[in-house]
């Protein structure tokens, strides 16, 4: 287990390094360079930038300096606002984390419940309804879904308030962000549950006289959960990127909105910093979900 953990952590570290490298060199490849005069808002900021990023030095050296800064939590300065990017990220990510955390929690909880129901009522109406709806939810782009929800429930029916900084109502954003991963987990849980229910050890449990509820919750669910755990990493990644869309639609001032804005403004240091920050989060999420997977699944030998 230790060996495996070390191996995975090393792979994750390599991945983070590669992401940083790709991001940095890709941004440097843009004609004129990311800190071009035209794009700087005023000469004062430009002067600060040049001094800060040692633009006279070779690219490789700049990269090492940039990496060193990253390790100290220094992401540079936004071209658009002139603020410390680390500060912007800290401030905006709090909002995104709240939104994403709620979405992830509900997605897992509801996905597991719905998936189990669908598996147990196989080929009866609850199964059909659940599978129809979840198939529909994974087939609608999130911004369309979010816009429709916003229009119908907030603007037309006025059941829920529109999100604003004074009155932050997370209901609709969380639902819009949650539906895709929830549907995915539902489908995953269903197929994994069906697979497990067909296993011999379930027959053994029934033959022992275990009551049906225990067969499902003690013997089946725990085995069925194992494949779902592997999805948690990708789900966090999906929620972080999905958050860009949802935050923009609901005008929530989170990191997602900030990222989309920086792309439209061609605020390169901001794009670079946010990409690396989100990428590191995703890599960590995947790492954790892989390690947990190994922990709960005793079938797998640790090599």
């Amino acid at each position: 287990m230790l060996k495996y953990t070390v191996k995975r952590v090393l792979l994750a570290a390599v991945t983070v390094f590669i992401i940083a490298a790709i991001t940095f060199f890709a941004m440097n490849a843009i004609p004129g360079g990311p800190f071009d005069k035209e794009k700087a808002p005023d000469p004062a900021v430009q002067a600060v930038l040049e001094a800060r990023f040692n633009l006279d030095k070779p690219v490789a050296q700049q990269f090492i300096i940039y990496l060193g800064n990253l390790l100290h939590g220094d992401f540079g300065i936004s071209l658009k606002t002139g603020r410390e990017i680390s500060q912007i990220i800290r401030e905006k990510f709090a909002v995104s984390a709240k939104l994403g955390g709620m979405a992830a929690g509900f997605a897992i909880l509801l996905g597991l419940i719905l998936g189990s129901i669908a598996a147990l009522c196989r080929n009866r109406w609850p199964d059909r309804v659940i599978i129809f709806l979840t198939t529909l939810f994974v087939s609608v782009p999130s911004f369309v879904l979010a816009t429709i929800l916003l229009l119908v429930f907030a603007l037309t029916l006025k059941w829920v308030g529109v999100f604003s900084t004074t009155n932050p109502n997370y209901v609709l954003p969380v639902i819009s962000l949650m539906l895709y991963p929830m549907s995915y987990i539902t489908r995953l849980t269903k197929s994994s549950m069906l697979d497990v229910l067909g296993q011999d050890y379930i027959r053994t449990a029934r033959a022992k006289g275990v009551r049906e509820g225990f067969v499902i919750f003690k013997h089946a669910l725990r085995n069925a959960l194992i494949p779902v755990i592997t999805y948690v990493g990708p789900m966090i990644a999906g929620i972080l990127t999905g958050s860009m869309v949802i935050e923009t639609v609901f005008t929530i001032g989170g990191l997602g909105t900030e990222f989309v804005r920086s792309i439209n403004n061609q605020d390169y240091p901001m794009i670079m910093a946010t990409t690396i920050f989100l990428a590191v989060l995703m890599v960590i999420a995947t790492l954790i979900s892989d390690l947990v997977y190994k922990l709960v699944d005793p079938k797998i030998t640790f090599d």
């Binding site: 050890y201 053994t204 033959a207 022992k208 006289g209 009551r211 085995n223 194992i226 005793p298």
Partner: protein, 337 residues
């Protein structure tokens, strides 16, 4: 005569699948007395396992019992409620399965799974259950039982797992143990050990055993009675000696020719030609007819009934009728001369 421990009367079990109704078990009847060993033999798909699952009522969708009775001490368990059935399973009748590699839940320890069975059916508390689990593991000959209790199934070999399965099945001292091909998935040397263990335990604990196998050799010296099944029906039954030395159904004879023996000079084994019938579309007459070397016209149109060969032996084969008929005809001829 007292009522037998288990009476199966005209049991029918079917699976409804896309291509029609698969009649896996097609009206079989047999009795099992206390403390006896009954062997059920047949090739894959003959309905042996389905019979066992029907008795336990652990058939998986879309399988269901479509007719007949299963009387345990005179009570029909087909009519049992779910709750009654839960108390019946594991306590009255237990089962061990073919593949020990997949029959234990991979995410729980051996101890946990043994304890579960004990706690379900006895008044023991957790500690007593643990003690009982340990005792059972010792009984089935698992080495280092204390350590095993804390281990997960993947840490044990196939033979060990099958021993654990046996321990689990016998933990609540059931009246009947059903062994569904308990040795098929194991190495030959381990097979012998497991069979020996089962015989030993049977003597010690005195439960009745239904031994299901496709390998006649496995059960030869273990069973009091043997039933030979083909395509969901019983084609022959009798004591082990009768079945082995005096088979009276063409299918049984075929089975006999296909097992290796040391006491005869057969140069080679003779397989039974063809493959089992399509159970969704059962032919008229004898199900074995198309594969039978000595098939007669009547076999294709009329289902042979089970007829007594002697007190210890019944067979459902038209050849027996023909034999009697021929003898009678020969006698008549001799008389007329």
């Amino acid at each position: 005569m007292s009522t037998p421990l288990l009476q199966v009367k005209d049991l029918c079990t079917s699976f409804n699948v896309d291509s029609g109704e698969v009649r896996a078990v097609n009206g079989i009847s047999f009795n099992l007395e206390k403390g006896k060993v009954l062997g059920i033999v047949g090739e894959s798909g003959s309905g042996k396992s389905v019979t066992a699952y029907s008795i336990m009522r652990i058939l998986v969708e879309p399988g269901r019992i479509t007719g007949g009775q299963i009387l345990f001490n005179g009570e029909d368990i087909v009519r049992y409620s779910k709750k009654q059935m839960r108390e019946f399973r594991g306590k009255r009748v237990s089962i061990i399965f073919q593949d020990p590699m997949t029959s234990l839940n991979p995410v729980y320890t051996i101890g946990n799974q043994l304890r579960e069975a004990i706690l379900l059916h006895t008044d023991r508390n957790r500690e007593q259950a643990n003690a009982r689990a340990l005792e059972m593991l010792q009984l089935v000959g698992v080495n280092e039982p204390e350590k095993r209790l804390k281990q997960y199934p993947y840490e044990l070999s196939g033979g060990m797992r099958q021993r654990v399965m046996i321990a689990m099945a016998l933990a609540c001292e059931p009246d009947i143990l059903i062994a569904d091909e308990p040795t098929t998935a194991l190495d030959v040397t381990i097979q012998a050990q497991i069979l020996e263990l089962m015989q030993e335990l049977q003597k010690k604990m005195g439960m009745a055993i239904i031994m299901i196998t496709h390998d006649l050799g496995v059960i030869a010296d273990m069973c009091d009675e043997i039933i030979v099944m083909y395509a969901g029906r019983i084609c022959e039954r009798g004591t082990a000696d009768e079945i082995f030395y005096n088979p009276r159904h063409e299918y049984t004879k075929g089975l006999m020719r296909s097992i290796p023996r040391l006491d005869t000079n057969h140069a080679r084994l003779i397989p039974i030609a063809g493959s089992p019938v399509d159970l969704t579309n059962m032919p008229k007459g004898c199900a074995f007819a198309s594969r039978c070397d000595r098939c007669m016209k009547i076999c294709l149109t009329e289902l042979p009934e089970e007829l007594d060969i002697n007190d210890d032996h019944k067979a459902a084969c038209w050849m027996n009728v023909k034999q009697v008929y021929d003898e009678a005809a020969a006698k008549k001829e001799a008389e007329s001369k």
